[in-house]
């Protein structure tokens, strides 16, 4: 359950509801093609183009690009954590 996955921030999402604004910035993060809305509340220093480690819809750390790519490739190759389904679930509203 504690698996986190690296992705790259491609766009900051402005506005949002009052509640979201109280928590922190939200961004679109690309996971090799799957685009998911991610909260940057725990990594407010992250910016567009940077890689972040994402757990359950929150970026928990900013990563070095080379390391992030290696981690991603390993996770893809090994199929750990049934990640694609989770990301799919995240992108269509959580079903």
């Amino acid at each position: 359950m504690c698996l986190a996955v690296p992705g790259r921030i491609i766009e900051m999402l402005g506005g949002g509801s009052d509640g979201e604004a109280a928590v922190g910035p939200v961004a679109t993060v690309d996971f090799q093609g799957s685009r998911v809305e991610v909260s940057l509340a725990m990594s407010p220093e992250a910016s567009v183009g940077q890689w972040v480690l994402v757990h359950a819809g929150f970026a928990i750390a900013v990563l070095d690009e080379d390391e992030a790519r290696q981690t991603w490739e390993y996770l893809q190759a090994s199929g750990i954590g049934e990640m694609p389904e989770q990301l799919k679930a995240g992108s269509d509203g959580g079903k």
Partner: protein, 362 residues
């Protein structure tokens, strides 16, 4: 790195572990993360250990450590027509004493699997006539997300979002394991993503007070082998230091923003662990200003007593006291298709991993 170079690197790391263990005493190294459990099996690392190095699994699977009383309360809430349960998928199949969320869903209960606590907030916004109860389970990696959802709901004035508090705090559980008279743990492979939040420094009290080495590791076989090698070297040299082999993601101080969110919303409280009983300060209760989000108060329910199905030894498995094959139900009455206890239900449970990857050793 090419496949050949990668394999050569792994061979060198395996032989480094063997070199470090040569001549050393027998040792038991515990990992405390369900994802580590699976990775150690899947990658074959577990089967490559020298005979005097035993890898054991601790209480690191959030589903497995959740008490039966919590699941019963979740099922009780699911039975209400005015409630939508929002939960991480791992919880759905775990049986309570007489019911599971999966069975409740089959009878028409609204049980929605979510990827994020943020999705629970969205569900509440989209269903103003129903009450959404988010099953708040997991360790420090997952807890800040729940805290953020509560903060967001409070700021937005959402009146129909609640949580069933079941989060666990790692360190008190490690202390409980080490305080047992018959503790046989020689060192910890510390969970990578919990440590992103806590920071490597958080393990220093464990290393100092209990004289147990702690090494933070990630999830790739090479990194896990590197961490195991460092632990073995420390045990062989009677050292008890904290080392960080997952510096890519884990810093000394961890993620202070995430911890601040936890502290804003929650305060330490005793909580019930499956088969381990109540451990002081090992859980989290909502602070007074957020108390209205507690589903127990809203719906007038309590967590019932813990319970283990007859013959089920999951409680001993999650404490690393026995291996799954020591349980009489394992592989006979209990398998991934007909699971009896949570360690077989959860994909990250020790029994499920053992069944899938290691049945030959039975």
């Amino acid at each position: 790195m090419s496949v050949a170079a990668s394999n050569e690197n792994l061979r060198q790391l395996v032989s480094a572990v063997a070199d470090a263990a040569a001549g050393a005493r027998d040792m038991a190294l515990m990992e405390i993360c369900g994802t580590h459990t699976v990775c150690l099996f899947r990658s074959g690392v577990k089967s490559l250990m020298p005979t005097n190095v035993r890898l054991i699994s601790g209480p690191g699977c959030p589903v497995c450590v959740t008490s039966c009383g919590y699941l019963d309360a979740a099922c009780e809430l699911a039975a209400r027509k005015d409630v939508i349960i929002a939960t991480y998928g791992d919880m759905v199949r775990v049986p309570g004493r007489t019911d599971s969320l999966e069975a409740a869903r089959g009878r028409g209960a609204a049980v929605e699997v979510v990827y994020s606590a943020r999705d629970a907030v969205k569900l509440a916004r989209g269903n103003p006539g129903r009450n959404v109860v988010f099953l708040a389970v997991g360790f420090e990696t997952t807890t800040p997300a729940t805290a953020a959802a509560v903060i967001e709901a409070e700021a937005a004035g959402l009146k129909n979002l609640f949580i069933l508090p079941g989060h666990k705090v790692l360190m008190p559980a490690l202390e409980a394991l080490l305080s047992a008279d018959d503790s046989a743990i020689d060192g910890f492979l510390c969970p990578g993503h919990v440590s992103v939040i806590l920071g490597a420094a958080a393990y220093r009290p464990i290393a100092q007070k209990y004289r147990k080495p702690c090494v933070v590791v990630g999830f790739e076989p090479a990194n896990m082998l590197e961490g195991i090698g460092r632990l073995v070297r420390q045990v062989a040299a009677s050292q008890a230091k904290v080392e960080n082999a997952y510096g890519v993601a884990v810093t000394e101080g961890g993620n202070a923003q995430a911890r601040a969110m936890i502290e804003r919303v929650f305060e330490p409280a005793a909580t019930e662990w499956r088969a381990m009983g109540s451990i002081p300060a090992s859980g989290l209760a909502l602070r007074g200003c957020y108390a209205r989000f507690d589903a127990r108060a809203k719906f007038g329910i309590e967590f019932g007593p813990d319970y283990e199905p007859p013959g089920c030894r999951c409680g001993e498995v999650i404490q690393g006291r026995i291996e799954p094959t020591a349980c009489g139900l394992f592989g006979v009455k209990c398998s991934p298709t007909t699971p009896v206890g949570p360690c077989m239900v959860s994909s990250e449970g020790t029994c499920a991993a053992w069944y899938k990857y290691n049945r030959r050793s039975r």
